[in-house]
């Protein structure tokens, strides 16, 4: 199956133990996050995150596109 890349930041990276990993390009972004959450034990539900694809914010119901770079954005705390 074709692959996409997931980027992890902040607490998600700590929980995943890696800054990025390849994933199967399968289903939509919400389904992908739920699978990864189960695998890595992420504390935050998707409702508290935003998702970005190839450097731009995206909708959770978008399909996971092969070759794309996906980032899950936990609540931000800059400033």
């Amino acid at each position: 199956m074709a692959l996409a890349t997931v980027l992890y930041f902040a607490s998600l990276r700590d929980a995943a133990g890696v800054a990025s990993e390849p994933v199967d390009a399968d289903g939509d972004l919400r389904g992908l996050y739920d699978r990864l959450r189960a695998r890595h034990g992420f504390a935050l539900p998707s409702e508290r995150l935003r998702v970005a694809v190839d450097g731009e914010f995206a909708r959770w119901d978008q399909p996971v596109r092969a070759g794309s770079e996906i980032a899950f954005i936990p609540p931000v705390s800059g400033g």
């Binding site: 607490s11 609540p75 800059g78």
Partner: protein
């Protein structure tokens, strides 16, 4: 296109940022600086680290500044946010806004810092004096 928002992984000079906003039409200049405090929510802080999703942070930061420039009657605006390790007392974020009049300068400056804090993918990792540490993922307000 002029850059209005930038990330900086080293300390930056606010005077040179400010100088880029001033011209003869400016009557009011409002600025805000966020500094690393020695306490947060009652816990003694030793230092902190800001991490950004740089590509998206820069794009979203530019959008915030573009919105400020279109919503308010201002002449120019800039924001710089630090990333990496910061010690107590270091400057974390700077916003500067120039305008003909002070109302717009204050309102836009406030808008920029509020939007940057709520929308731009930058995360704060605090190290506490008691040895604990953690990422801040505030509840949306």
């Amino acid at each position: 296109m002029t850059k209005h928002f930038s990330l900086s992984d080293t300390p930056f000079d606010t005077a040179s940022e400010r100088a880029q906003l001033l011209d003869d039409r400016v009557g009011g200049f409002a600025s805000f600086e966020g500094w690393v405090r020695d306490h947060n929510d009652g816990r003694a802080v030793h230092g902190l680290r800001y991490e950004a999703y740089a590509a998206l942070a820069e794009a979203e930061g530019e959008r915030v500044l573009a919105e400020a420039l279109s919503k308010f009657d201002i002449l120019d605006a800039r924001c710089v946010h630090r990333v990496g390790d910061l010690a107590i007392g270091e400057l974390a974020v700077w916003v500067g806004v120039s305008a003909a009049h002070r109302d717009a300068a204050f309102a836009a400056c406030r808008f920029v810092i509020d939007e940057v804090k709520s929308r731009v993918p930058i995360w704060k990792h605090e190290r506490y004096v008691d040895g604990d540490a953690g990422w801040l993922h505030p509840q949306q307000s």
